[in-house]
């Protein structure tokens, strides 16, 4: 039986990473990663803290230069583009940051309007209409437009971040832990927004998360990364790549443990019972 993720991969991928490696000083975070993401797919990248999920996202959009391998977006190597071409490529992305990364000095409206003002010469009235439409899409009332990010709750900040990411109607949206730090209801609101965004706009989505509820609800493909410090030499960093329905029955014990949230073996390692004395990553690219 051929699953949906395999069908999607047979079409020309929108994002293709080949032998990707990222190293910070002496710490290798990603190693020999081969990953292709097809147009229209929603891929959840899961894994423990420090396994390089955020680093992967930032490498895709050209914020972090890989130390090895290539990242191609729509057939073009992101790191061989000129500054102007890279800017044009980045406009095709929307990025929802972990803490939303709203500009403190600007109001909600100015935040959402930022990419519009930066890359278009639309009249102010039109910009305001788009801002209100995007805010309405994420369920925020008109009354928030004049507020500063500091006056908003965590969930509202995430929603403003999503409205800003959607402002230029991107082809691909990168979500960096969209539900982290939110209560279960607000987490589900964000999950629903990810789904409704996909219904409204034909977008490709990469969702970095360690929330299995989000993974099972929004993704049609799951990729699980594992921290290099805890892998055996030569072992591939991707432990699982398949549909969410199969992750519970994954062959690798470490995948099942992650899905079920079992800390038993990890606790033993941390206490040094196994003699391994495992080291936590430096927290880069959680």
């Amino acid at each position: 039986m051929v699953d949906r993720s395999q069908v999607a991969e047979s079409v020309e991928p929108l994002v293709r990473m080949e032998q990707l490696g990222v190293r910070f000083g002496r710490q290798q975070v990603l190693r020999d990663l081969d990953l292709s993401i097809a147009r229209g797919q929603t891929v959840a990248v899961i894994g423990e803290s420090g396994c390089g999920k955020t680093v992967l996202l930032k490498t895709i959009i050209g914020l972090l230069r890989p130390t090895q391998g290539t990242v191609c977006f729509d057939g073009q190597d992101v790191y061989r583009l000129s500054q102007r071409e890279l800017t044009r490529t980045r406009i095709r992305f929307g990025f929802l940051f972990q803490q939303a990364a709203l500009f403190d000095s600007m109001t909600v409206a100015q935040n959402v309007a930022f990419p519009l003002r930066q890359h278009s010469s639309r009249p102010e009235r039109e910009i305001r209409e788009i801002v209100l439409a995007r805010l309405a899409e994420v369920g925020l009332p008109e009354s928030v437009v004049g507020k500063k990010p500091a006056e908003l709750s965590g969930g509202m900040r995430k929603r403003v971040g999503l409205a800003r990411a959607l402002a230029l109607e991107p082809e691909i949206i990168l979500y960096d832990e969209p539900t982290t730090g939110l209560d279960p209801i607000m987490s589900d609101v964000i999950n629903e927004l990810i789904l409704s965004t996909r219904r409204r706009h034909p977008v490709t989505s990469i969702v970095v998360t360690h929330d299995m509820h989000t993974t099972k609800k929004v993704a049609d493909r799951v990729v699980m990364l594992y921290p290099l410090t805890r892998l055996r030499p030569g072992e591939p960093q991707i432990l699982f790549d398949g549909p969410p329905s199969q992750i519970d029955r994954a062959e690798d014990r470490r995948v099942r443990q992650f899905v079920q949230g079992e800390a038993g073996e990890r606790l033993m390692e941390m206490r040094g019972v196994n003699g391994g004395g495992s080291e936590e990553g430096l927290g880069i690219g959680d």
């Binding site: 930032k58 406009i91 990025f95 990419p115």
Partner: protein, 294 residues
């Protein structure tokens, strides 16, 4: 078995003793190498950063929306503190010099010396020091917080160049407004010194002003402005660079702000020395018969 173990331990120990000074030397060279590499990397990093800032400055002027807040933050909000600094420098110079000049009955020449010191040296250096603290540290802390909270990454991800958007307006504001603030500090110092000398020290105002006007020339004002231009550029570049390369967390932001001030202060003093030598050479080239300025 026991003997062999003992032998191993003894031989290991003697090897340790033999390796001691060698190991210490190797460690010392490695530490020195780390420091040198750190310095060279830092210098290279700020050089590239400065080059990119100049490149963006000449390729695209910043928008009014980014320029005006930078001018307001750096220029308008610094006015009171710079005016106060200038006034007190002038008064302190008058208080300190008066006793010496009175001994030689030269107190009417007090204005000339104070104004010369203010315009050529103390005004630019002390105003720049004050601004390195107020403006440089604040830029490093603000941009550092933006780095830590991923706001700089957010800017880049939306296709805006962070150097063009964040650094160029601050650089321009410092470059234009720090010389203006210095001229104002000079003016306040001159006025403060004149007020104190005439009204408190009872020096004849006519001679005070007459002598002051005779001594300070346009070249003195020019050299003060040239110095403050370079100090302004240094404060902006160092403050923004520290902010952009800030380490994670509150500690990283604090360190960036402190480093911005300390590095700016050292660079201000170094630039002051270099510019004094350079301006003196220019002065002698233009007026070969005049006595050297330094």
């Amino acid at each position: 078995m026991a003997n062999s173990l003992h032998a191993t331990t003894v031989s290991g120990g003697s090897a340790g003793r033999r390796g001691g000074p060698v190991r210490w030397l190797v460690d010392w060279i490695a530490d020195l190498g780390d420091v040198v590499i750190g310095w060279v990397t830092g210098l290279g990093s700020i050089s590239v950063f400065s080059f990119q800032t100049l490149q963006w400055l000449f390729s695209r002027l910043p928008r009014k929306e980014t320029l005006l807040p930078a001018f307001y933050q750096i220029g308008v909000l610094s006015l009171p503190v710079v005016a106060l600094t200038g006034t007190f420098i002038g008064i302190i110079l008058a208080v300190q010099s008066y006793a010496q000049f009175r001994l030689m009955n030269l107190e009417t020449r007090l204005g000339a010396v104070i104004n010369m010191s203010l315009v050529r040296e103390l005004g630019p250096v002390l105003a720049a020091t004050m601004l390195a603290g107020r403006v440089g540290s604040s830029m490093a802390a603000e941009l550092g917080t933006m780095r830590v909270t991923e706001q700089i990454d957010a800017l880049a991800s939306m296709g805006a160049n962070p150097i063009s958007y964040l650094v160029v307006p601050r650089f321009l504001a410092c470059l234009i407004l720090i010389p203006c603030l210095t001229v104002m500090a000079d003016f306040m110092g001159v006025v403060g010194a004149a007020y104190y000398s005439v009204y408190v020290l009872q020096i004849d105002w006519f001679h005070y002003i007459h002598n002051s006007a005779q001594f300070v020339g346009l070249f003195d004002l020019f050299s003060g402005v040239v110095k403050s231009l370079s100090f302004g550029a240094a404060i902006a570049l160092i403050g923004c660079h520290r902010g952009f390369h800030c380490d994670a967390g509150a500690e990283g932001v604090g360190k960036a702000a402190t480093a911005a001030f300390v590095q700016s202060f050292c660079v201000i003093l170094f630039l002051d020395m270099v510019l004094n030598i350079l301006l003196d050479a220019i002065y002698l080239m233009l007026w070969p018969r005049a006595p050297s300025l330094i």
